[in-house]
Symmetry: C2
Subunit: 552 residues, 2 copies
């Protein structure tokens, strides 16, 4: 065996099929490639597709997490990008000539040079991979650090064709860790990704308080947490038919103060259950990517009205938000909500500067984030920097190529992102928090077990009922709604905590508990994940099912 | 055998179990009954419970319909209430002494006297039956004419204990048919009840037009259609914090004219499918108790604001409506909606005097009905006569003891009507209209069949997707949304018509088609009826399943 291939095989433990790919890559490296004599302006290329690509890379991260067990720590694949003796050495200028199918597509990582042409189509993140083509992916992977797993390393090394000039490799690696300024976190939070930081509390923490303590509130970051200098902080507001305005935090605080109790949830909450049906892309969330807090700030409708917005303005259909968190190409995180929600005084959209009575923490958007209650967390943009009124949804990747639902048979190749509706209001959901999966649960004398959890629905719709069963739905027990505020339907933004004493068969050791909720519009949860499965693993609101062992 | 019993047995074809009941009733008639010397004032008794009782009787009607096949014609049970030789004869004054468990409870119908004490608890309509106790049920049955079925006759005759004085029986029967003034109807409508009139079009009529022609719009009447004299017609409006007002039709028409396209649906639409899982109470509706029309009128929020309502008024939580349609005790049909919906200019609640560009027809509420778009049809009170602002929901039976959802294991005895939420906004629903059940469907050359239907959701939430399958959900096809207006989410009151070309297995003759819809809050339909079954058979929004025969 060719000694180079032998070394590749030692580095990567790949299947025989993948080994064949590695072999063919090796042969490709011997070919003469066409040089189109064109120096690519990567920034120019990215302008149109940056958002897209970046988000898809974020998708990749989760994808790989889900393929294996969830990872709570990060380790770069051992040996990935190290020099391999016997392979040809290239300069960055050579790599830069390989940017399309005709020239083949090359990338570098550390001292590795890779021809990923044949991997492009099976890249779980789709076209995102094109961002790095013809150059080093080191800076991208510093931001989307979820790539730094043994699984990704294994895949990458299968496409190894050469070594990069060591001086240039050192230069590429110099980029600063963009996460070095991230805040400290509660170690009890369970991370599905550390860079960017994404973590949820143990589910039992959710049912201890109606208001989730900030330190137990799930964190969903798409990028590094920005360092904000209050002296320079301001929010730009602009759009057709309104006066443009830059608003400082002090000015914001002088506007009428409005406090709401609102649940915020990630569209991927409970994704790990959907992935059991069939692999989905995204972070491996359990049932605790949700929390209920009080939020204080100024009402967005007041601000927009004061700048001259009125409903006769038919040019405005959406309110776009941008954060201070930036992609490697300096594109901000973004999302939008329909104008009707933004300007409805009953919509209660606020620019929040306090959470649970305290200034926002950095992980939750300090100094100001949007709270659009009843709407998916992804639109509640943190570190708010800019508000744009527009006839279009936010151009950001997360609005246009992420956070949308699809029919169960749609796959990456058939997904019509333009046609699919952006997730805004969320559907009714519930989860069992105690007991947790595989827990041993003592049975009460009356042959029941105590089950507690949360339920919530988007759009300001309160929960009117929660049903729990321990026998597959032959006997549904109505749960007590033990914590629920008295906000009226259509403005009921907070969740409901519930508990139920559920009869169990005295002869059974293993019991599968199910919970389902009903909201004020009598929408119900779907029974199972099979028929709501979707490629992005969002909207995971099937009955929550938890198997426990009963002890006597 | 006693010749009287023999005659009873000849009249009624009862099971052996029921025969035992008949026997025991006969023995009871021989007993001496306690006379409490109290002349009951039935009207007084009814004041508190009339609404309750009446509606439950309406419930009974549907119940009996569902027990057998649906009835599209009415025939009183043959021989019911006829004189039976050999039974003792009573006067009304005797019957009036039997009004409680101690005295036993008697009723009369035509010339029959019945002791229904032992039937009370199994009466599907619950306490409603008490309304008639101690007197003649003839006038009640004239209103709730659905009692006039062979099934009800059979049950009644099992409790026969005697004959009523024929002169008094003639007097009781004199009451005028309250339905004699009902309008003529399109004979193509399929009636699940003729008195009151309740009927739906053949489902295929629904997908012929985006706007349902008035003559094909389902009719759901709870009582006889009132005869309205326009010269005397007015709407009374009153409540805390507003000026009282009586509004004539002419005054109403002078207010700003507002037209909306809105779907109106009965909460019992598709009930016949739920009843296949387990018997439910209510009319035997197919999938066409729904329609989509344009409605023109004045906005309720404008009217209430003009009378001085403002949001600081915390005494008002509900807006109650009363119709001109009256129960035998002269109680009006009624329902209410939350004040937030009524006063939200975006809620689009109107007092409508036109449907599809024409004055309302009598069956649809002439001269004025409420259209509360996105909310169940039961609150869109027809023949509107009175509007009351209140801190309570409408006291009417249909608000307090009907049109509520329950957990699947709740039965009549355990239903907590006070606790259950009134149905207001409706959940997402869809139905296949063509092909219909058991139809023979030609397969296209590409091995697909064409399926069309409607989808809709309450609360102003547009449909964003409809999925159809012919193989139990292994392959879901996304339907084309062929007719949908461009109203924005939160004010999208109209339905969506869709069509899909669904691949079928070439080797199969019988195919079960399923349809499910997704609305803009990504709420979905539940898979089956098992876990949404409820005693009243409302909210029947499981996947619509239609079995057809495939022809080639």
């Amino acid at each position: 065996m060719n000694p180079t291939l032998a070394k590749i095989n030692a580095l990567v433990s790949c299947s025989s099929k993948l080994r064949r790919v590695a072999l063919s890559c090796y042969h490709y490296s011997k070919k003469e490639y066409h040089n189109d004599g064109h120096t690519r302006d990567r920034r120019k290329l990215l302008t149109g597709t940056a958002g897209l690509g970046i988000g898809l890379v974020v998708g990749v991260a989760g994808y790989h997490l889900i393929k294996g067990q969830p990872h709570y720590g990060w380790s770069s694949g051992e040996g990935v990008g190290e020099r391999i003796d016997g392979l040809p050495t290239y300069k960055m200028v050579d790599v830069g000539k390989h940017t399309n199918k005709e020239t083949r597509m090359w990338i570098t990582y550390k001292e590795g040079v890779y021809d990923i042409t044949d991997f492009i189509e099976s890249h779980p993140g789709g076209n995102a991979i094109l961002m790095g083509v013809g150059g080093a992916v080191d800076p991208f992977w510093n931001i989307y650090a979820a790539h730094k797993t043994p699984q990704v390393a294994r895949i990458l090394e299968q496409y190894r064709i050469g070594n990069l000039d060591p001086v240039e490799a050192k230069e590429n690696s110099k980029s600063h860790d963009p996460y070095s300024n991230d805040p400290n976190r509660n170690p009890e939070l369970v991370a599905s990704s550390k860079k960017p930081f994404n973590a949820e509390p143990p589910p039992k923490r959710l049912v201890e308080n109606y208001i989730t303590p900030t330190e137990y509130f799930y964190v969903r970051n798409h990028l590094p947490v920005p360092l904000v200098d209050l002296k320079e902080y301001e929010i730009e507001i602009e759009g057709p038919g309104i006066k443009s305005k830059t608003l400082t935090l002090e000015e914001l605080k002088q506007l009428p103060k409005h406090t709401i109790t609102a649940t915020v949830m990630c569209a991927g909450n409970r994704r790990s259950e959907m992935s059991e049906v069939k692999e989905v892309k995204g972070l491996f969330w359990g049932p605790a990517a949700i929390g209920n807090a009080t939020w204080t700030g100024a009402k967005l409708c007041d601000i927009l009205n004061s700048l001259g917005y009125d409903e006769s303005n038919k040019e405005v259909l959406h309110v776009q938000f941008e954060g201070l968190d930036l992609t490697p190409e300096s594109n901000p995180y973004g999302g939008s909500i329909p104008i009707e929600k933004a300007v409805d005084p009953r919509g209660d959209v606020i620019l929040a500067y306090e959470m649970n009575g305290q200034p926002l923490t950095r992980d939750h958007g300090y100094p100001v984030r949007v709270i659009a209650p009843g709407i998916v967390g992804a639109r509640c943009v943190k570190w708010l920097h800019r508000i744009v009124l527009s006839n279009e949804e936010s151009p950001a990747f997360w609005q246009r190529r992420d956070y949308k639902g699809f029919s169960p048979n749609v796959v990456a190749e058939t997904a019509n992102w333009e046609k699919a509706a952006s997730i805004e209001e969320l559907p009714v959901i519930s989860a069992i928090c105690v007991p947790s999966k595989d827990q041993c649960v003592p049975v009460c004398k009356d042959n029941t077990i105590l089950v507690t959890g949360y339920a919530w629905s988007g759009g300001g719709r309160p929960i009117v009922r929660v049903d729990v069963t321990a026998d597959g739905g032959n006997l549904w027990v109505e749960a007590d709604l033990v914590a629920q505020n008295d906000a009226r339907p259509s403005r009921h933004w907070g969740w409901t905590l519930w508990e139920a004493k559920v009869p169990v068969d005295p002869s059974t050791k293993k019991v599968e508990l199910w919970a389902k909720a009903v909201d004020s519009s009598y929408n119900v949860q779907p029974e199972s994940f099979k028929h709501i499965w979707n490629i992005r693993g969002v909207l995971n609101n099937a009955y929550h099912r938890v198997t426990v062992t009963v002890t006597r």
